[in-house]
Symmetry: C2
């Protein structure tokens, strides 16, 4: 595998579907009254985003049903067996809408004032509007998922998966908040938090394709695990990038996580190796830290093998995520899912 060829294939695959997904978001989440509420609800969705999760849903359905990528209309997608065609795109939109809801509420809790290069919803509007915009996207996502027209038993199972996924995301966010008060977090606890907070939605994005196409339990389970493992790898790669990619490429100060005392798999590993992580940088804010200071911290983390440990963990998870796909038919869409998993840990930003 050449990283660059993989990355190009993945970016193409995402790019080819992004406009379709964006148009569908517009259709499924039209402006309505009260205007300010719907403006705030659509604001973060309109600010951009790769649409990675809906892309995973769309390609996973192509892999399961063994149709060539982009050969079949997503709005009238064939299910396996006797079941009627259904609106796969709605399921993909539903997942993206859930993602947006979690971003809005997380930004309030984490007091993050910027998102996708624009002010967060609670900054652009206010906290009440942000709470309510998140709540509206939450119910809209469920509404949209009820409207796929898939076989009702499959539709209900997709709802069950979506709902339990949202519960897990809340649990993960609660763990993340609780971790801020603790200095004895174990790497495994961190990985559990990442699985709940971030990876389960990737799992749901992939599994929902299996559920709605009427694939069996083995396939649905494999897709879910594919999403979980690659989603965890994705987050770990994010933590690595924060230390290793130049600030201009990263779009924010390199080393921000360290400055802001955010624990990652890297710092937790370093603590276990006896590194005094809290002393690695003196700066109190990302604006104050110097490149030299970050370089020195990174050298210390490299010396005890913490960055390699994170990279290797992400690679192991990625290999595992691709292994799960072996129960799917061997086709172009499956190969794209494998590429996406590779891309999630080879991407430079």
């Amino acid at each position: 595998m050449t990283n660059q060829a993989t990355e190009e294939r993945v970016l193409d695959a995402i790019g080819q579907r992004r406009e379709l997904v964006n148009d569908a978001i517009d259709d499924e989440l039209p402006m309505a009254e009260p205007e300010r509420l719907y403006e705030a609800s659509r604001y973060i969705l309109e600010a951009g985003g790769k649409r990675l999760r809906p892309t995973v849903t769309l390609i996973a359905a192509e892999a399961v049903t063994d149709v060539p990528p982009l050969s079949t209309p997503y709005r009238e997608f064939p299910a396996l067996g006797e079941a009627d065609a259904f609106d796969l795109m709605r399921a993909a939109v539903s997942i993206e809408v859930i993602q947006s809801f979690t971003l809005i509420h997380d930004d309030i809790m984490d007091e993050d004032d910027l998102r996708r290069g624009v002010p967060a919803v609670h900054e652009q509007y206010d906290v009440s509007t942000a709470i309510l915009a998140g709540d509206t996207l939450y119910s809209k996502a469920f509404e949209i998922m009820t409207e796929t027209g898939a076989d009702p038993a499959a539709g209900l199972e997709a709802m069950r998966t979506l709902a339990s996924t949202c519960t897990k995301i809340c649990e993960g966010q609660a763990l993340d908040v609780a971790f801020e008060e603790r200095d004895d977090i174990l790497p495994d606890e961190y990985l559990e938090m990442v699985e709940l907070k971030t990876a389960v939605l990737y799992g749901a994005a992939a599994a929902t394709a299996g559920i709605l196409t009427g694939a069996g339990e083995e396939v649905v389970d494999a897709l879910y695990r594919y999403g979980i493992d690659s989603g965890c790898a994705f987050q770990i790669q994010d933590d690595v990038l924060d230390l290793t990619v130049p600030s201009e490429q990263l779009g924010k100060q390199r080393g921000s996580d360290l400055v802001e005392d955010k624990e990652t798999l890297i710092t937790l590993h370093a603590r276990q190796q006896g590194v005094d992580v809290d002393d690695l940088v003196d700066a109190e804010t990302p604006a104050e830290v110097t490149e030299a200071e970050v370089d020195e911290a990174v050298a210390a983390l490299e010396e005890v093998g913490s960055i390699d440990y994170a990279r290797e963990t992400a690679e192991d998870l990625t290999a595992r995520s691709k292994d799960h796909l072996s129960v799917l038919p061997d086709n172009e869409a499956r190969s794209l899912l494998e590429d996406i998993a590779d891309y999630l840990i080879s991407r430079g930003y």
Copy 2:
């Protein structure tokens, strides 16, 4: 109809079901990890509440299927026609859990620090935990509703109703917040806000019973309208009680809405009659206002007929809500639903 006999029947009906509902809430929403999140999520449910909405669901199902009240296990409730028995209690719990989620988030937005006589969740814990506890109840409610075991098409329809109801509740809360900035609200706009913010969940509580038992569209629609009209009447009665019931019986200062400049159907009507509502009381907080001041304000509102107007509107809505029930079999459960509608506007607190 003697008010007292009606009230006794209704309080009996609620009381007989409250323990069953409370036990079911414990079963369906058990403690889990992270502990603090689940404690906060259960906190408001454990603080009490009449369980009026789940009671409506349970009795509505008895009315539709024509079984005597309390004769049939709610956990294995017979559907109409060929469909299997299903867990009606889960649907009832789901509705109550949604109600709790909305209370938690509304209290943050409205900066209400007390709820059911105890500190609101954002006071007892913190704002982040309250946002997350609400979000958790939100997804839990959807999870629980997917697990009724009803016919899948009916189950999916119940999910659709629950989701669209939640969207409407958000719209209603957004209107309520927006109204605080306006001084030109029309009574009809106020009633629309009340319908969205408060009444649709009563509508969903009743309609869900029809959907899951497999009743036809006419019955489901009638139950929904029963809930909407009696839910609106309930809120208007709340506004009347705030002015007419002694503070000790009310559990808070009589006239609080006036002191806090909260518009109600009463004040909006009075404005249309040329009353300078903003000048009715001088006090800035409920703690400062005197009974004499409230008496004088009430007299002014009575003089232009605003309190009678609100009472009559509530009575009309109640009469309409009961009329909708005429499509149901004439049985004891239906009569109880009628009594509940009467009780919602005859109750003294």
